[in-house]
Amino acid sequence: MIVAEWKPIPELLASLKGHKNVLLVGCATCVAECAAGGEREVLTLAPVLKMGLKDQGQEVNIITRTLERQCEPEFVEELAEIAPQVDAIMSLACGIGMQLVAERFIDLPLYPGVNTTSLAIREQPGLWTARCAACGDCMLGETFGLCPVARCAKSLMNGPCGGTRKDGKCEVDENTECIWRLIVERAEAKGRLEDLVKVRPSKNWSNSGHGGPKRMLREDLR
């Protein structure tokens, strides 16, 4: 899922300064799964913003909505009726959903309520950890299903950096497994350690963000 987290409350309050009617809009898909922007979080944030603004001497009316998916125009259209009643929109969707809302309601200021941070899984209740960095040239087939791009602090391609802690954690973060240790262990368990020393063709980074904004075109679907 795409993972996001609330921006700090003071930042959110500052962005709504001077607004009287605000639409706070969530998304029931990824950001709901990561407990940042689903209906529950929309309902949680709305009273917090109202109380915070009141504390600063500002009365604000907050209308709440949660779309099935904020990254699909059909669902965003559901806001058309409510948009004329507000003077700003705050979105709790990922950056993708937010941009679609901003584009559809071009006359209204759009404020991000969250920071979109990663492509992650829910590893435990209340803990999300990155799994993919959308690098555009997936190498999971060579690394036994473990991604060194997203999960190695240095995105190393050819083995551990040498700083792996004794307990197997990454030298950069004591709470994160060294992914290269896990890759080596998995290779060993499968009796395929020698696969890791094979010379591989260099990775095609031009299909990642380095090649400019991505554009995927499928004539058969147009």
């Binding site: 409350i9 003071p10 309050l13 529950r40 309902l43 949680t44 709305a46 009273p47 917090v48 109202k50 109380m51 915070g52 009141k54 504390d55 001497g57």
Partner: protein
């Protein structure tokens, strides 16, 4: 600028959300407004304290109540095993958000108890009412700005 001392001369409105499993077997569950000495209480019965969400507590305060009391079962006596533990985590989360907007986490309280009567719940609400008096009336009532 020094903060003005909050007005403690008011009758706090306390919403008491209580788990029905906390009640004494003989006690008939009661809901709704209950005037008490020095404060007003509104009782709301829950199937389990773990049913409560942070946003519900926040919304009650946003709508002007002065305090929210959550009454759950003793930690190891929850019929849903982790309900009252969940309730505590959600209340803590809501309290942290309240602190960030200067409302004060002190407007929320969790009490764990068993075999309660309605009078016991009102007594617990009274304890919160006393604490809330030190915070002053809820500014969301619209009369203190």
């Amino acid at each position: 600028m020094a903060a003005a001392k909050p007005d403690s001369n008011f009758s706090p409105e306390i919403v008491a959300l209580y788990c029905r499993q906390c009640l004494d077997a003989e006690e008939r569950p009661q809901e709704g407004a209950r005037p008490a000495k020095g404060f007003n209480a509104r009782l709301v019965m829950l199937p389990c304290s773990g049913k409560v969400e942070a946003y519900q507590m926040l919304r009650i305060l946003e709508q002007g109540a002065d305090g929210v009391l959550l009454v759950g079962c003793p930690e190891n006596a929850c019929r849903f095993l982790v309900g009252s533990r969940r309730a505590e985590k959600r209340l803590t989360h809501a309290g942290q958000l309240l602190d960030l907007v200067n409302m004060g986490a002190g407007r929320l309280a969790l009490k764990r108890a068993a075999d309660l009567t309605t009078a016991d719940i009102l007594a617990l609400a009274g304890q919160l009412a006393e604490r809330v008096k030190t915070l002053g009336p809820n500014p969301m009532k619209g009369d203190s700005l």
